[in-house]
Subunit: 243 residues, 2 copies
DNA sequence: GGGGAAACTTAACGGAGGTCAAGGTGGTTC
DNA sequence: GAACCACCTTGACCTCCGTTAAGTTTCCCC
């Protein structure tokens, strides 16, 4: 778990596997040293919460290992799973930069290791290296596109299409497509988390899964999914039943 | 319409009414001069499109006057109105910064004047003045919060609550609340555009309006709305009927 | 291994809201 | 003023999905 000898369960930014893919890759060695000195790492068990909606936002979290779910809930207690974040992703930078409290919560979905970088350090790095801000800006732009896409889908697509879309998104990271177009997928999410991702109840998730089984679109066994023909998922997206 | 003598219908950045509220307010006079020289302004009539989804994004648009609707549509032709943008807002900066084509479309809802600033100019200003990037970053962070809030609402709130929320948002800019808590509102949107904002069909918009009338929550006459007690709108938001 | 909690599934029911079709209203043009 | 058009409203119908309430399976933890 530990790479440097500095802290019991703390990685080292210079040797971090995810370094090349993160916003921080634009930092010079001197600047990275500042991050490395200032960060605090911790391991989280599944279900453990990294921060809650409404918490004071004191800095950013960078995922070293594991899988994190970002949730948001409303007054009535209803909850959606906005997205899942992976190693290399930096979390909480938006609330931090906007100067707000956290406006969603983060929870470990697998055993995960996160590094916390405090606000003062982030601010001085942003001042020191303008490229860092631009990287975050680009990232925010992409997140925003994804969020607007999700608004559109939630408002206009029926549940089957939203679920097909979710499977297609998960395919990119968790799936294998073979030569004849069949897909095998190992889901990183529980049924209820999948339901929360597409904005439906667990009961509807079960029904949708069964209707996919009945239509021979996909076969589910625990978290293993087999899709005989990926094309059939794309066809689901096209179904013109509007809002 | 024209302030400088430079171009027939082109304003002047130095005297622009919206200047203080925009991202561009961090620019020095020299830098603003670059914007002013490089920009191209144009008037758009209601219904006229500024850019389409999928168009090549060559720069950003800054709204000098008027009201612009930002729309996004899916393969099936269903459309949502993601937000409305006002004088001082800069549009298209996200697609531009992410290096993508436009991923939504912009259409004038009122007679409007927009200034176009080409990509080369924006890039050189970002390089010249890091504070500009940070301002855009903060703006993107706020937009992202709004978009995620909208995902949550669309997925978990019934139509009445979403409509009550829309009226409360429009209240901030277009409404007047008097001493005894009653609200008068002049809607900037047609019924079908309001429907597109909360992700429903025009028929459902009509039905929802009528149910608000029946319950004495709000009274509609064309684009004039009278709400006897603003509290009743807040109460609509709380209704626990979940998704 | 056994017991309990959480996750998942299934079925029956009902209501919110989409669809379709028809009619009303208002604004613009000749 | 007539004709046209877009926008809006209304009603009838029906489907999708939330609700409720069992029941089943899985997974921990003693």
């Amino acid at each position: 778990m530990s790479v440097s000898g500095k802290s019991s369960d703390c990685g080292n930014c210079f040797t971090c596997q995810t370094r090349g893919k993160t916003e921080w890759c634009v930092l010079s060695d001197d600047e990275l040293e500042i991050v490395d000195q200032g960060k605090v790492c911790r391991e989280y068990m599944p279900g453990e919460v990294i921060f809650h909606e409404g918490d004071d936002c004191r800095g950013v979290h960078c995922i070293e290992r594991g899988l994190i779910g970002v949730r948001k809930m409303n007054a009535g207690g209803n909850e959606v799973l906005l997205r899942i974040s992976h190693p290399g992703d930096t979390m909480g930078y938006r609330s931090f930069l906007a100067g707000d409290d956290h406006n969603n919560s983060a929870e470990a979905l697998e055993p995960s290791v996160l590094c916390f970088i405090d606000g003062k350090t982030v601010h001085s790095l942003l001042a020191m290296n303008p490229a860092l801000g631009l990287r975050f800006l680009r990232h925010a732009a992409q997140d925003l596109n994804a969020a607007e896409e999700k608004v559109l889908q939630t408002a206009t697509l029926p549940v089957r299409a939203r679920f097909a879309h979710l499977l297609l998104v998960l395919k990119e990271r968790y799936g294998v497509v073979d030569d004849n177009g069949s897909l095998d997928l190992e889901l990183p999410l529980s049924r209820q988390d999948m339901a929360a991702m597409i904005g439906i109840r667990p009961e509807s998730m079960s029904r949708t899964i069964r209707s996919f089984e009945d239509d021979n679109i996909a076969h589910f066994s625990g978290r293993r999914v087999h899709v005989p023909d990926v094309k059939s998922l794309y066809e689901e997206l096209e179904i013109p039943i509007g809002l």
